[in-house]
Amino acid sequence: MYGEAHWPAAATLGGTSAPFLRIRNLTKLFGGFAALKDVSLDIVGGEFVCFLGPSGCGKTTLLRAIAGLDIQSEGTIEQGGRDISGLPPSARDFGIVFQSYALFPNLTVAENVGYGLRSRKLRKAAIATRVAELLTLVGLPEYGAKYPAQISGGQQQRVALARALATSPGLLLLDEPLSALDARVRLRLRHEVKALQRRLGVTTIMVTHDQEEALTMADRIVVMNHGVIEQVGTPIEIYREPATPFVADFVGTMNFLDGVLVGAGRVRLGAAELECDSDGLAPGARVRVSIRPEDVRVRGLEAGILNRLAVEIAECDFMGSFCRASLRPAAMPEAVIQADFSINLMRDYDIEPGRHLEVALPPERLGVFARD
């Protein structure tokens, strides 16, 4: 009865099928403090979703509400069409991996993985087969007889994953599963976890504060801050079209320049006027304009290129494969724009502190947010 086929087939992403997990108007109060404020979210079957945000943003609270570990104060959760809002964890259908892994130290790896199977009245032989299958799945077929303290952190993490998957849950919850590992192991496990999830097609929610982890692993990212969802989107949407200044700032590096809209699609920053895309904002509005360091253009500034700025190079920080330069636009005495220049470009344009240079800020790369 246990096999990979048991997992629900991955639904088409963003399709019109009913969501696997429906979260409506979730609020969680701790004393007087609201850790979640009226959060609503749909998750499609087979999706890999990351809850991303700084510590205290409510991402873990949301995960624990979905698991039934800390039940929300208000709001409903449905999983697979069943209302699970007030159910205890044992009446829900999920597997979970914690940051600490919570492996039972006095049980062997095999006993840990088979822990949830024993209570399901399976015969010993059936359990052993299933455990061996799971250990092979996570790449640790030889490790069944070892104790958790005898294997590495990355291996412990995979055992915890196998244990969570043993009972073929409909939903896999990962609470910062990689953050206790050192950088190299973390990079490798990102791919392994993602590949495993894709192969099994199990709907997965991972909580993380590491934006790089979210960008590389997730089908969709839910960016949270102060107990509310700031934006939901694919990694590319989140990076390219951040919906709020918070998202723009939290995911990747972003320059912000304060200015005023002077007409449709025109913004004044200091003494300069730039073309931009200012949908829905009235002229005269105070705005914050954003651009990523890698979008500042130096090459190919032929006639007709918009948004040119004369700048002085204030500093260059060597970052290995590129340099992050701090630019002072002549037209904006207060502002500093950070730009990423490849080593190649540095050589071609002889870039070093004190030099003057002309750059362009492409209109389609500028974000415009209202400012109060």
Partner: protein, 564 residues
């Protein structure tokens, strides 16, 4: 979008785990209410009644405070407690410093020797002192005509009895040292003395204060020492006994009990306040300090420790030796006659076996109740009211002197309308009372052990739909086995040595060894009393050694999964 406020609150379904755990918490609350809270309440209300049980308001208190002879005991108790604290604190500090911050040789031996007094009833040092300095004492002349019976004897015996308690707290405080602070002080060129006063002492400050309160409370509430060596010097603890057993004046006994409760409660509250501040002394990133040998200091400390440990062992040795002596001090040849208890007390050896039986029951039942209780408080979800109530009731006994609790038991369990009064004068009430008396310390031991376990084990088993009790038996209990053993041994040893609470509760059939010591001493059979006290020490020490052996075996068996 709807506003966050005012929506319907979520209706929670309880899992069978939740239901079982909550039922357990309710049961535990009832247990603690019956064994701790209600007896105390009975005592308190008794102090406002006359001998016929009519309410008389504060009349008893007025009489107590206006009788100088009685009120004098209050000041006597305070004076003795302060003197003992002043002596024990510096001694224990130096000893703890030597154990934790120096490289003295044979550290394990000093550690073991310092714990001797815990294994003995408090009566034992008093008996030893009588043999050394009493009317027939070997060194009676050394006191220049002063009598050992009175404050002098009480204070010396209390120093022996309180020393290990203070030492354990101070050693813990001193072992929490951040090595980086000492390196910084070294680099800045501070002298060793300056480092001591600016780094060592401040970081151990709360430990010192806490140890001070513990000593003070122990002395105020101890009964055995003052009983044996107090002479005509009255203290609160002996006053209660005289009022209740001597004069059958229960109302006045209750008043003295309440007066005795006051300093103990104050010390307890002050200590809690201090403890709360201590939390942040050691950050997670601290580097443990590893002491380096400094010959001059180490040998100096070695000498100090040698003297202290020698005195502790010496006092024990005197009592043991005296128990084998034919006729102190005129015929010092050895004999086993003093162990033939039937010659001195009609109950013979029976009290010893009753004590062992009682201690085994206390250890067996107490360990289960305490560990289950701590588990429910720590690991159940929701039901904050129940958990806080249990936590409060579990901490309460620490502030209640044994005599006060014992007296409360008389009032509560002996009441004719109490359905539980069938327990009165049985071994059962002694077991229940002793578990209640020592509940707090073992509860805290269990809580500490449970807090060190990954907090998500229960969440993981719930997600795997494994009931909590299976994870408890298969994972939590095996991991906590050393702590559980610790709890059992602590309860056993204390059940063997305790006098104060049970002195009001025993019957002729359930007389305990420690009470037999008091009785035989009272009847003038000091050698037999010493012999019975020796039996108690030997038994406690045997159990303690058994624990060490079991811990070793456990560590070997579980090496594989404990390796870091």
């Amino acid at each position: 979008m709807a506003t966050a406020v005012g929506g319907p609150t979520v209706r929670r379904t309880l899992s069978s785990d939740d239901v079982i755990m909550r039922a357990g918490l309710v049961l535990l609350t009832v247990w603690l209410a019956v064994t701790v809270a209600l007896p105390l309440w009975a005592l308190l209300s008794k102090s406002f009644q006359n001998s016929d049980g009519d309410f008389v308001g504060l009349a008893n208190y007025v009489r107590y405070f206006s009788t100088p002879a009685m009120f004098q005991s209050f000041w006597n108790s305070i004076a003795v407690a302060l003197a003992t604290t002043a002596i024990v604190l510096p001694l224990a500090f130096i000893y703890a410093y030597a154990l934790t911050r120096s490289c003295i040789p044979a550290r394990w031996l000093f550690q073991a020797l310092a714990l001797i007094p815990i294994l003995a009833p408090s009566l034992l040092p008093a008996i030893s002192l009588i043999y050394l300095f009493g009317n027939q004492g070997l060194f009676k002349d050394w006191l220049f005509g002063n009598s050992i019976y009175g404050p002098l004897g009480i204070v010396i015996a209390q120093v022996f009895y309180c020393f290990p308690h203070a030492l354990m707290i101070l050693a813990t405080a001193l072992s929490m040292a951040d090595g980086r602070l000492y390196e910084a002080a070294d680099v800045l060129g501070a002298s060793r003395l300056r480092v001591f006063f600016t780094v060592t002492l401040p970081s151990a400050k709360y430990g010192v204060i806490s140890a001070g309160f513990v000593i003070f409370t122990l002395v105020i509430t101890d009964f055995g020492i003052a009983k044996v060596i107090g002479g005509r010097f009255n203290v609160l603890a002996t006053d209660i006994y005289k009022q209740v057993i001597g004069q059958q004046n229960f109302a006045m006994g209750a008043v003295v009990g309440f007066v005795l409760l006051m300093p103990a409660v104050l010390a307890f509250l002050a200590d809690r306040l201090v403890q709360r501040r201590q939390m942040a002394v050691l950050s997670a990133r601290a580097v443990p300090l590893v002491p380096r040998p400094v010959p001059a200091r180490d040998w100096g400390l070695f000498a100090c420790c040698g003297v202290v440990a020698g005195l502790l062992a010496g006092i024990l040795a005197v009592a043991v030796w005296a128990s084998f002596i034919k006729f102190w001090p005129y015929n010092l040849s050895l004999t086993l006659n003093n162990y033939n208890f039937a010659n001195f007390d009609p109950s013979g050896w029976a009290p010893y076996w009753t004590s062992v039986r009682m201690a085994l029951w206390v250890a067996a039942i107490g360990t289960v109740i305490v560990f289950a209780g701590a588990y429910l408080v720590e690991k159940s979800r929701g039901f904050t009211v129940g958990r806080n109530l249990v936590q409060f009731l579990a901490t309460l006994p620490l502030a209640v002197p044994g005599l006060v609790l014992g007296l409360g038991y008389i009032f509560f369990f002996n009441a004719p309308n109490n359905p539980l009064n069938f327990l009165y004068a049985t071994l059962g009430i002694l077991v229940i009372n002793t578990i209640a008396h020592f509940y707090t310390v073992v509860h805290l031991t269990a809580v500490t052990a449970l807090k060190q376990i990954d907090a998500e084990f229960e969440a993981v088993s719930a997600s795997l739909r494994v009931p909590f009790y299976r994870t408890l038996m298969r994972v939590t209990v095996p991991i906590c086995l050393p702590a559980i053993l610790d709890i059992g041994v602590y309860l056993f040893v204390n059940a063997m040595t305790t006098v104060s609470a049970v002195i009001f509760l025993y019957s002729t059939d359930t007389k305990l060894a420690s009470i037999a010591v008091v009785n035989m001493d009272e009847a003038g059979f000091t050698a037999a009393a010493a012999a019975m006290a020796t039996m108690i020490v030997v038994t406690s020490a045997g159990v303690k050694l058994l624990q060490v052996a079991l811990n070793h075996a456990f560590a070997r068996r579980t090496q594989a999964w404990r390796r870091r």
